[in-house]
């Protein structure tokens, strides 16, 4: 079982059997567990001080069944959270992240988080404005993309993160200067309709897509969506603006349909309206979770912008009066329980090695993301211009 995971194709087909695949993965997850000396094994039944147990953090459904307890530092081993934290919370998944924060509030009656919920890029701009004017009311910024974290960091609006938190996360998923840290991974992927094509029909690099005859006039994308723009920003970083422009035009000549968001792209693949699309990986899992026998699979490209793994992340904001609480909060979000939450409830890639991704997803180490500095994804302006010039936006 373990061997299967190591040798599997990176662009693998995501089978929908649910139970079989989940069991296969569950067999692996224990092996990597307990990496940080945390008491991962106790999580399953422990109810803790605030009567909040691992099962509260964990999602349910076919993709989550029979998982083993996560490894990593348990919140049992962290200092209690106490005090009031002002949290700027970015992104459309605010609803889900709120659940996590509520669980923490339940567990620690003395802890309260005031949340400000808006789009990540809007909040980043607000923090930068606030910082320029003196200080931001925010203690912590929780964002769904590295670009907005990078923008805040580049504006000099961050304070330092706790070493204990940074040390648990692979270097690729944190800022090189330790100004932000990833908390959940979001891989670019290719959802496709398994009735219409097989995995082998899908090119292994995005550059080949405009020539793929099987995908002619049958693909979809959501260019106004932040994650798509990060993907194009990555392409600009790896190649250059001219080549990116050529690719955008070639894709349009090839025939591609525009959607509002990538969940719709993924649903359209499951419905057979699209043969394939460009979307973050977890939308496919959401479709699978909601519609159990839908014919949707997931492929990954390799080593290029299409294989970008972006992160949701945290940073502590300059001028906070709550530095200790903020640091402790960051450590809690990187705990075994919280990482299990991201894996099983948002279907994101967990950021600590002790927690396995859900279902039949390849492990994050088995993905082959491009070698770029995620902080550079902050250059959205050039990308928006390019998309507009290409007639995509």
């Amino acid at each position: 079982m373990t061997g299967r995971n190591v040798t599997q194709s990176r662009r693998r087909f995501l089978a929908l059997g649910g139970a079989t695949a989940a069991t296969a993965l569950a067999g692996c997850s224990g092996i990597l567990g307990s990496g940080d000396g945390g008491d991962g094994g106790s999580g399953g039944t422990d109810t803790g001080a605030g009567q909040v147990s691992l099962s509260d953090f964990r999602g349910s459904g076919p993709l989550v069944a029979q998982r083993e307890a996560p490894g990593g530092t348990s919140i049992e081993d962290l200092p209690d959270l106490s005090g009031e934290l002002t949290l700027y919370l970015g992104g459309g998944e605010g609803g889900l992240y709120l659940d996590l924060i509520e669980l923490l509030e339940q567990r620690y009656p003395d802890f309260e988080a005031e949340q400000r919920l808006e789009a990540s890029s809007d909040l980043a701009n607000t923090i930068i404005e606030e910082n320029e004017a003196g200080a931001s009311p925010a203690d912590v910024f929780m964002s769904i993309d590295a670009g907005s974290l990078g923008a805040v960091a580049n504006a000099g609006a961050t304070a330092s993160l706790p070493e204990e938190a940074l040390s648990t996360v692979p270097e690729a998923y944190q800022d090189s200067e330790g100004r932000w840290v990833g908390i959940a991974g979001r891989a670019r992927a290719i959802p496709y309709n398994t009735n219409q094509i097989s995995e082998s029909d899908i090119p292994s690099t995005v550059q080949e897509f405009p020539e793929a005859t099987a995908l002619e006039n049958s693909m979809g994308w959501a260019p106004s969506y932040g994650a798509f723009q990060s993907f194009i920003t990555a392409m600009r970083l790896i190649r250059d603006d001219d080549e990116t422009m050529a690719w955008l035009q070639a894709m349009q000549d090839h025939g591609i349909t525009t959607y509002d968001d990538e969940f719709r792209v993924s649903n359209a693949c499951a419905d057979g309206e699209l043969t394939a699309g460009f979307a973050n990986h977890y939308y496919t899992l959401r479709v699978q979770s909601a519609r159990e026998s839908s014919p949707i699979g997931l492929a990954f490209t390799e080593g290029d912008a299409g294989a970008l793994v972006n992160v949701s992340g945290l940073e502590i904001i300059n001028g906070t009066d709550n530095a200790d609480l903020a640091s402790n909060f960051v450590r809690h979000v990187l705990s075994a329980e919280a990482q299990e939450f991201f894996a099983t409830r948002t279907f994101a890639y967990p950021m600590i090695p002790g927690v396995a991704p859900v279902g039949d997803l390849p492990r994050i180490d088995d993905l082959n993301p491009p070698d770029i500095n995620l902080t550079e994804l902050a250059d959205v302006a050039g990308t928006v211009d390019l998309l507009r010039d290409a007639g995509v936006l």
């Binding site: 605010g94 808006e118 979770s289 409830r345």
Partner: protein
């Protein structure tokens, strides 16, 4: 006697009876102070734009993108305004002057679309008529492979028109109800055909009413962000938002300046049509003309009313109900639960904005209605500029200025309500002013001759008479505040959610089901305030 004549008479009387000008000077000072306070935040736009080098600013202004976005915006504003007149005026005539069956019912359904936030309307239309929408699903078994796209200019015009034409409907209807019908009858006795009588007598009389509504529609179309964004049509607001997202505030402010210039242009055009002073939402209800008998036209007339009501009300409510029933976003988690506090926050903010607008509108409206000099309507005109400013720009300005100059007010309810007052005051000024115009100044004269101070004469005599107009203004401000999104998002206190911020958030996360109930409640609550506006017609 026509509206115009009555004005002339009132104006003369006002001039004669209020010749001692001290109250007016005081009024002018107060009104000017209020309008300056309201316009102050817009200085930010110029401050930011001023940071750019001139050559770069010029390059930005003349770039292809700027030019095409300007043309797009003009096309949108012109299209929405024209279409609103084409829908609003016939509906007003049908409900005010004909023997249309169920007139009361059609009056309400024609006004109600104003309570549907245009971005919810836009989502509903995309859901219904989008590439994989309800209509496409219905038609695909019939072999219809593709339906014309809803996205683009025509979609944006369609949606904005359907949810803003009630401004034209309400003002035109008020003019129709208040103008003297005997003139039409006189024209008919002079052998004018009905159409000729309409063109030569009715139309000139209700033109200011139409223009007043069209002004609100045009400025709304200029400032709306959600609908063009959802319809994927590039206009100023969308560009400004994108530039802000890309952290290019200089370009954003140049675009904002251009947008303000367009707003001033619209105001100038409207001024030339000699509207504004006149007719907003008010009816005096005296001496109505005889009803026009529709005869064979009854059926098409009812069908027209029904078609508009279906598109504006049945369709969005139906789509919201469908969201409610079709659950399952694929998340296993519970998500983000609606709390009753959000509703109270919305209502509280809207009530505060309405109350302040009413108080601030009184001196401005009074001065504009009774002022003796040409500049007395300046404060009134100035308030419209705030209405034309997109919430995004106003939000940015108040974030910037608030942080630097009044940091203790930053992210406070006070600053948020201030933003609403800037944006929605002209709606209260319009209704209040036209009510004041209908009060005979001799009443004040009489009160003053009994020894009352001008202020208490106003309070005891004029205020009770204009109360219905004030109530209508308050209701309009209330319901537009309930719907406001961008400034609310940017300026609200942290942890302070409202109906619209909640709806925006959950629909952004794909939780359409969870957005449905608050959206329906929002529409319902706003609908109640619309009834206040329509009720006035019964009592006046």
């Amino acid at each position: 006697m026509g509206t115009k004549d009555r004005y002339e008479r009132l104006r003369e009387q006002a001039t004669m009876s209020e010749r001692d000008s001290s109250p007016h000077t005081l009024l002018a000072v107060v009104s000017l102070a209020i309008s300056l306070l309201l316009l102050a935040p817009l200085v930010w736009v110029f401050l930011r734009a001023g940071e750019i080098e001139f050559t770069r600013a010029l390059a930005l202004l003349t770039s292809d993108t700027t030019v095409s976005v300007t043309l797009n915006t003009l096309a949108l504003v012109t299209g929405v305004t024209t279409a609103s007149i084409l829908i609003g005026v016939p509906l007003a005539i049908l409900t005010a002057q004909t023997d249309l069956p169920f007139k009361r019912f059609w009056t309400i359904t024609s006004a109600l679309p104003l309570v549907v936030p245009s971005y919810i309307g836009a989502f509903a239309f995309v859901s219904a008529f989008g590439p994989r929408g309800v209509l496409a699903d219905l038609l695909s078994p019939l072999g219809v492979e593709q339906i014309p796209t809803i996205y683009g200019l025509h979609g944006a015009i369609l949606v904005l028109t359907l949810f803003t034409y009630p401004y034209v409907f309400l003002t035109t209807r008020a003019s129709l109800l208040s103008f003297d019908g005997t003139v039409v009858e006189a024209a008919r006795t002079l052998n004018h055909t009905r159409l000729e009588a309409f063109r030569r007598v009715t139309l000139p009389q209700i033109a200011p009413g139409i223009a007043a509504g069209a002004l609100l529609v045009a400025l709304y179309a200029l400032s709306d962000f959600g609908t063009p964004a959802i319809m994927q049509y590039d206009v100023f607001t969308r560009m400004i938002y994108n530039e802000f997202g890309a952290r290019r505030l200089d370009y954003a402010s140049v675009l904002s300046m251009l947008l303000l210039v367009m707003a001033l242009g619209i105001l100038a055009v409207e001024s030339r049509l000699n509207a504004g002073r006149d007719g907003a939402y008010v009816s005096s209800g005296s001496r109505r003309p005889g009803l026009i008998r529709l005869g064979y036209w009854k059926v098409p007339a009812v069908l027209f009313c029904a078609a508009i009501a279906s598109l504006c009300l049945v369709l969005p409510v139906g789509i919201l109900l469908q969201w409610l029933l079709r659950s399952g976003t694929g998340y296993s988690g519970g998500g983000f639960a609606f709390e009753a506090a959000y509703a109270w926050n919305s209502v509280g903010l809207a009530a505060a904005a309405a109350a302040i607008c009413v108080v601030a509108a009184l001196p401005i409206a009074y001065l504009s209605a009774r002022g003796t000099s040409a500049v007395s309507s300046l404060p009134e005109r100035a308030t419209y500029v705030g209405y034309a400013v997109p919430g995004v720009v106003l939000g940015l300005a108040l974030v910037y200025l608030g942080l630097r100059y009044v940091p203790f007010l930053y992210q406070s309810v006070i600053l948020l309500v201030f933003a609403y007052v800037i944006r929605f005051l002209p709606q209260a000024v319009g209704t209040t002013e036209s009510s004041i115009l209908q009060v005979d100044p001799q009443y004040i004269e009489a009160a003053r001759s009994l020894g009352y101070h001008p202020l208490s004469a106003f309070r005891k005599v004029v205020l009770p008479l204009v109360a219905p107009g004030i109530a209508a203004g308050a209701a309009l401000v209330f319901l537009t505040t309930m719907k406001e999104l961008p400034a609310t998002l940017m300026l609200r206190p942290t942890g302070f959610e409202t109906f619209v911020t909640y709806i925006w958030l959950v629909q952004g996360a794909g939780y359409y089901g969870q957005a449905a109930v608050p959206a329906l409640v929002l529409v319902g609550l706003s609908g109640l305030s619309m009834l206040v506006i329509l009720r006035r017609e019964d009592t006046s």
